[in-house]
């Protein structure tokens, strides 16, 4: 028995680059359970249950149709308005969920974290998984409308490019998680950020071609939009699903670099804060 015993050494010093990802893997069952729990708990004691996952984006998209489509008369690159907004909403709410749920990691879980040890990264990873499942359900709705419009010949998706969708999803999830855990690490010290985050994320949406296509933006503003790391994956997503939009390998690569940098910094800061945040929360 002794030879199989696990050895742990806790020291005052902390190796910043020791990310302990192997430990995270050992706790994979916990990740799945947490993901499941967040679902069960959200829809317990609601009448419509998971139906909200359809209703919510549908109603939002209808509002967008009225607001941006009919009143502001923004272009949708020739795609039926409802489908355009549904698609944008699906991909954006996935990203936004990754940021906002993770931004509250430390403060929301302070009680649990204060009582028992497990790799804290379990919590952000399960948040991203949960967001992915919600996105998947929301995509069923999008697919329904897409099938209708595609048969009617109103949209021409790039079916082959659908193969890249898992990668797009992964990138947005990783980027969202990176940003989220950086914010949550800073929130342990400055509570302001928790207020800022919901506000910041909704502003970020307008700085991303979600309710309008990138093609309508020209000049320096377009450059600015492309600097936003979310722009490239969102455009790629729309290009595959709806067959419109512009994809540039250069900006996609840049976006990936930002993503990896964000998640790396995030995990490093997160692991550092994790060690002693109980003393300050």
């Amino acid at each position: 028995m002794k030879d199989a015993v696990q050895y742990t050494k806790i020291t005052a010093k902390h190796d910043l680059l020791d990310l302990r990802l192997d430990e995270l893997w050992r706790y994979r069952d916990l990740i799945l359970l947490l993901t499941k729990r967040s679902f069960v708990v959200t829809y317990k004691q609601t009448i419509l249950g998971p139906l909200w996952l359809f209703l919510n984006p549908l109603l939002t998209s209808v509002v967008y149709v009225v607001l941006f489509g009919n009143i502001a008369k923004l272009s949708t690159d020739g795609v039926p308005q409802l489908l355009f907004y549904l698609t944008g909403n699906a991909v954006w709410s996935f990203f936004a969920a990754c940021v906002t749920t993770n931004a509250a990691t430390f403060t929301e879980n302070a009680r649990l974290f204060g009582k028992v040890y497990f790799p804290r990264l379990v919590s952000p990873v399960s948040n991203v998984l949960g967001a992915m499942i919600r996105f998947g359900i929301q995509m069923l709705l999008v697919l329904g409308f897409l099938a209708y419009y595609a048969v009617a010949g109103l949209v021409h998706p790039h079916w082959l490019a659908w193969l890249s969708l898992p990668l797009v999803l992964l990138q947005l999830g990783v980027l969202g998680m990176g940003v989220g855990i950086i914010v949550s690490s800073l929130t342990t010290k400055y509570r302001d950020l928790s207020v800022l985050v919901s506000f910041g994320v909704s502003l970020w949406m307008y700085a991303t071609p979600v309710v309008y296509p990138l093609s309508t933006v020209t000049g320096p503003l377009r450059k600015l939009l492309l600097l936003n790391p979310v722009t490239a994956p969102v455009e790629l997503f729309r290009w595959a699903v709806l067959g419109v939009g512009s994809v540039s390998a250069k900006y996609l690569a840049a976006s990936w670099i930002v993503t990896l940098a964000a998640v790396f910094c995030g995990v490093v800061i997160f692991n550092k804060v994790e060690r002693t945040f109980m003393d300050t929360v």
Binding site: R37, V116, Y190, M278
Partner: protein, 420 residues
């Protein structure tokens, strides 16, 4: 000592905490304070009356702990509140990291610093077993294998598919303990978790842990204020005081060391200057100096006598609405009760405070008393001015027919029967 059989080794472990408000400040407040400081003005965020010297002051919750625990040992950790017990357990269960020193652990640790950690009210008992087990580091397959055993042990089989929000607190504890006890861990850490739950279940838990240590070679670290459970479970006792180990070894000696810590036997006139205080007090403008049990040669009280205390304190500034608090604990360290005085005003200088606490309700036994002076802040929370745990000891003698183990320490008021 056999190197191979070590479960836990702590070398020079220290943990520092900062006093005053830390964390949870807003960025705005921090900028404001910084700006005011820069222009030589008073910090607008300073709490009125708060001592600016206190902020940023640090203290060592653990001040150099060296401890080696062998596999299969059952170690009880005792110490007064603030001695560092909880901090030590937090470090061992990796909730927070040490400031200095090194902790080595051989084996998986399952810690129960609280009953039902990670239980979710909306989920059923069964779902919570999986959740709780996973949080404590078990894989799904391991929990599957142990599920029946856990349910059996918990004694709540009928309710296992009911959301735990419908459980009584006793059922809750049973389920939680059942999960922790059946974990595949080599080291178990428990903090006061058995304070709840019925007597029979407590005994069952203690026996389970004892067996786990003796038969499976699991190591148990147990913190409690209940000396009887320490006696029943532990084979070794570590006493902490002010962040240091003051005793390590025999259980009875440890309990005695803890009980007599700073307590002169049979004293009726005690200087309070050297008594340990909670280190988070700082400068409050008041300090207790001397305590006298009036009209006594030995601190023994017979029927009809009141506990008459005379407390001398140095007061630095006028303090209004100050109350005196006396808490009594039995010699097994079970809380018996607390008395609050009516409010008084203290002007600066050397003050003498006298109170008389009737002991009619107390039947018999040896008691330890903590005394403190506090005042309510703006929102009514008590703010301690000075407090000494186990400041003095006294004995109440009662009728020999009164057995405290059978009848308890308190004699409830007599009742008048009516007969028809």
């Amino acid at each position: 000592m056999d190197e191979k059989n070590i479960a836990i080794r702590l070398s020079g472990v220290k943990k520092q905490y900062r006093l005053g408000s830390i964390g949870g400040r807003t960025l705005q407040a921090e900028l404001q304070s910084w700006w005011a400081k820069k222009r030589g003005r008073e910090d607008p965020n300073l709490r009125i009356g708060a001592d600016p010297r206190l902020a940023g002051q640090t203290f060592w919750a653990l001040d150099g702990i060296d401890l080696t625990i062998q596999r299969g040992e059952r170690v009880g950790i005792i110490g007064a509140n603030g001695a560092g017990k909880s901090t030590l357990l937090k470090l061992l269960s990796r909730v927070t990291a040490p400031t200095e020193g090194e902790i080595e652990i051989w084996g998986r640790v399952s810690s129960m610093l609280e009953v039902g950690t990670g239980f979710h009210r909306e989920m059923t008992g069964r779902e919570n077993i999986y959740m709780n087990g996973a949080i404590l580091g078990m894989s799904r397959a391991e929990i599957d294998a142990k599920l029946e055993q856990i349910i059996d042990f918990s004694e709540v089989r009928e309710f296992i598919d009911t959301p735990v929000k419908r459980y009584s607190s006793g059922m809750y504890v049973k389920l939680a303990f059942a999960v922790a006890a059946h974990l595949q861990s080599e080291i178990m850490i428990l903090d006061e978790v058995l304070a709840v739950g019925d007597m029979a279940f407590q005994q069952k838990c203690l026996d389970t842990m004892r067996r786990a240590a003796e038969e499976e070679g699991r190591t148990v670290l147990y913190v409690s204020h209940n000396m009887n459970t320490i006696r029943r479970l532990c084979g070794r006792c570590v006493v902490l005081d002010a962040g240091r180990v003051i005793h390590d070894g025999d259980v009875e000696e440890g309990i005695a060391a803890y009980m007599d810590r700073g307590l002169g036997e049979n004293e009726v006139d005690t200087s309070l200057d050297d008594k340990p205080r909670s280190r988070s007090l700082g400068d409050t403008g008041l300090r207790m100096r001397r305590l006298t049990l009036e009209d006594k040669i030995t601190p023994v009280y017979a029927e009809g006598e009141a506990l008459r205390l005379c407390l001398r304190a140095d007061v630095d500034r006028p303090l209004a609405d100050v109350r005196l608090r006396v808490t009594l604990r039995t010699d097994a360290d079970v809380g018996l009760g607390t008395s609050w005085s009516e409010p008084m005003s203290l002007s600066p200088g050397e003050r003498t405070i006298r109170v008389s606490l009737p002991l009619d309700l107390i039947a018999r036994g040896v008691f330890y008393a903590s005394i403190g002076l506090f005042r309510a802040d703006e929102i009514g929370r008590p703010v301690m001015l000075d407090h000494i745990t186990r400041a003095f000891r006294f004995e109440r003698i009662g009728p020999p027919v009164w057995s405290t183990s059978a009848h308890g320490f308190v004699r409830l008021p007599s009742v008048r029967p009516t007969v028809e």
